[in-house]
Every structure is written in structure tokens, then in C-alpha cells.
């Protein structure tokens, strides 16, 4: 088997994992869709978040996804320093997103609107929190990849790892589109 075929097999295996992750998120979205009116006298979806705050969060994650793509382009062009810098900016944007989400969550918990307040908030924290955990895991992975690439350069396995991380990162942005639309925008409509 050639090196290229081996790489494609590994990336395909990762793709299968991503698709199973889709099913995990589908379950969380379904739970949210069922429970989002069950606020038990606590805060409801339309009073949950500051829309501008979430909009900025969305743009940050989208820009992060774009930086990841640019890094892959730079890596293909064998521009090592540029690719590493772009990865660092991807990471910085990802961490900014996580910081905003942590702020939002801690704010809710401080107002006694934590996940144990109502069925709605449980499903909200489960869905958005699982996405946040994925972003956190992706960030840690990105740190280790940056160290790897900086030390060993764009070897065959370095490029393969970069390809998989970029799939993961773009996938997380796609999940966020749906969280943004169905949790925050639909929430603000007060249907």
C-alpha cells in the first residue's frame, strides 16, 4: 500500500468518527428541541443570552475555521512559518470563543440559572457545553500539533495530522451554525 493510500485510510477513519459525533449532537439537539419550553418558572430561551455577544462569538469561531483553512493552504505550499502562525491565530480565536462561552456560562450559574434549574437549562448546557468541550479538546490537540510541526516540520505524518485537525475544526463550526440558529436565533424569536 502506498503512503498516500495509507494516509487516505487514516483520514477516512477519522471521518467515520466525525459522522458518529454528528449522531451524538443530533441526540442533544433532539433533547433540546423537546425540552426548550420546559423552563419550570426559570429563565426562558428568549431571556437567556445577549444576541450581540453570541453573534460576535459566531464570527470568531467562523474566522477561526477560515484561519485553519488558510493554514492548510500554507502547509501545502511548504510555507512552514506561515502555516504555524496561521495555526496559532486559529488557536487564539478558538480560545477567545471558549473564553466568551465560559463567561456566558459562569454568568448564568451566578444568577442561579445553572443546568439544575430546569429541564430547558439542562438540555441547553448539555448541548452547548458538549460543543464547548469539543472546542477545548480541539484546542489542546492544536497546541500539541503546533509543537510537533515546529519541531519536526511538515513530514508525512505532520500533514496527515493537520488534515484531520482541520476536518475536526470545520466540523465544529458547522455544529455551531445549528446551535446559533436553533438555540439562539430561534430562542430570541420567542416562538
Amino acid at each position: 500500500m502506498s503512503l498516500k493510500e495509507q494516509n487516505e485510510k487514516t483520514v477516512f477513519g477519522f471521518w467515520v468518527y466525525l459522522m458518529s459525533d454528528c449522531v451524538l449532537f443530533a441526540g442533544l439537539f433532539a433533547a433540546y428541541a423537546v425540552l426548550w419550553r420546559q423552563a419550570a418558572g426559570g429563565p426562558q430561551a428568549f431571556e437567556l443570552a445577549n444576541m450581540r455577544f453570541v453573534f460576535v462569538e459566531t464570527l470568531i469561531l467562523l474566522s477561526s475555521s477560515f484561519m485553519m483553512g488558510l493554514s492548510v493552504v500554507a502547509a501545502h505550499a511548504k510555507k512552514k512559518a506561515l502555516a504555524v502562525w496561521l495555526l496559532l491565530s486559529t488557536l487564539a480565536l478558538g480560545l477567545a470563543f471558549l473564553g466568551m462561552e465560559a463567561y456566558e456560562f459562569s454568568h448564568l450559574v451566578a444568577e442561579r440559572s445553572g443546568p439544575s434549574r430546569s429541564a430547558f437549562l439542562s438540555s441547553y448546557f448539555a448541548l452547548v457545553g458538549t460543543h464547548g468541550l469539543h472546542v477545548l479538546a480541539g484546542s489542546l490537540w492544536m497546541i500539541s500539533l503546533i509543537v510537533y510541526l515546529a519541531r519536526r516540520g511538515f513530514t508525512n505524518s505532520g500533514m496527515r495530522k493537520l488534515a484531520m485537525l482541520s476536518l475536526f475544526w470545520h466540523f465544529l463550526d458547522i455544529i455551531w451554525i445549528f446551535i446559533f440558529t436553533f438555540v439562539y436565533l430561534f430562542g430570541a424569536l420567542a416562538l
Binding site: W15, V73, L189
Partner: protein
């Protein structure tokens, strides 16, 4: 530089930002008109459509779906996941919607004028 790849990312990013702005703008417009315009009956399908368009844009331009050589195993896996996701989410919404619909009104037949349904009290 791989120019086609670069073009994909730049174009995908521009379209995604535009779609996000449209979705956010429509919602803000609705909020500023104190939930009157555009109406919910327009916004719900419109926002859903915007999200689905952005999904397709990012799948093709960021994740390069459909660009692989045959056999297209990645595409096949994606379609399988799509089927599972739509059964899971669609099925849940369908069943739970029916369930809550049946719980709204107690199915006690109306007997006479002096019998009032008790659902209003709780």
C-alpha cells in the same frame, strides 16, 4: 500556492459571513419591530434555510465533500449520518409534538353546559 484551494476557503468564508449577517439581521429586525415583522411564519423557514445553505457551503468548500476520487466513501458515510440524524431529530420532534398535542386538551367529551373542563386552572 494551491490557488483553487485558497479560492475555496476565501469564497466559503465570505459566503458564510454574509449568511450569518443575514440571519442575525432578520432576527434583529424582528426584535426591533416588537415581534411583528417579519412574522414567525416567514422567519422559521427562512432561518432554517440559511443554516442549511451554510451547511452545504461549508461541506463543499471547507470539508471538500464530493471532491474525492471514486469510490466516494466519505460522501457515503456523510449520507448515512444524514439519514440517521434526520430520523433521530425528525422522529423525536414528530412523536413529541403529537404527544404534547394530545396532552393539551383532556379528551373528556363535553356533556352539558354546567360541566366545565378543568384544564384552565393549573
Amino acid at each position: 500556492m494551491d490557488h483553487r484551494l485558497l479560492q475555496n476557503y476565501v469564497f466559503g468564508f465570505a459566503v458564510s459571513v454574509a449568511l450569518t449577517f443575514i440571519a442575525f439581521g432578520l432576527t434583529q429586525w424582528h426584535l426591533m419591530s416588537t415581534h411583528e415583522f417579519p412574522p414567525h411564519s416567514f422567519l422559521v423557514p427562512a432561518l432554517t434555510a440559511l443554516a442549511l445553505i451554510q451547511l452545504l457551503v461549508q461541506l463543499v468548500l471547507f470539508l471538500h465533500v464530493g471532491r474525492e476520487e471514486k469510490p466516494r466513501l466519505n460522501l457515503l458515510m456523510l449520507l448515512c449520518a444524514g439519514v440517521v440524524v434526520s430520523i433521530l431529530v425528525g422522529g423525536t420532534l414528530w412523536i413529541m409534538h403529537n404527544l404534547s398535542h394530545m396532552q393539551e386538551q383532556p379528551s373528556v367529551p363535553f356533556i352539558g353546559n354546567d360541566v366545565t373542563p378543568q384544564a384552565e386552572d393549573d
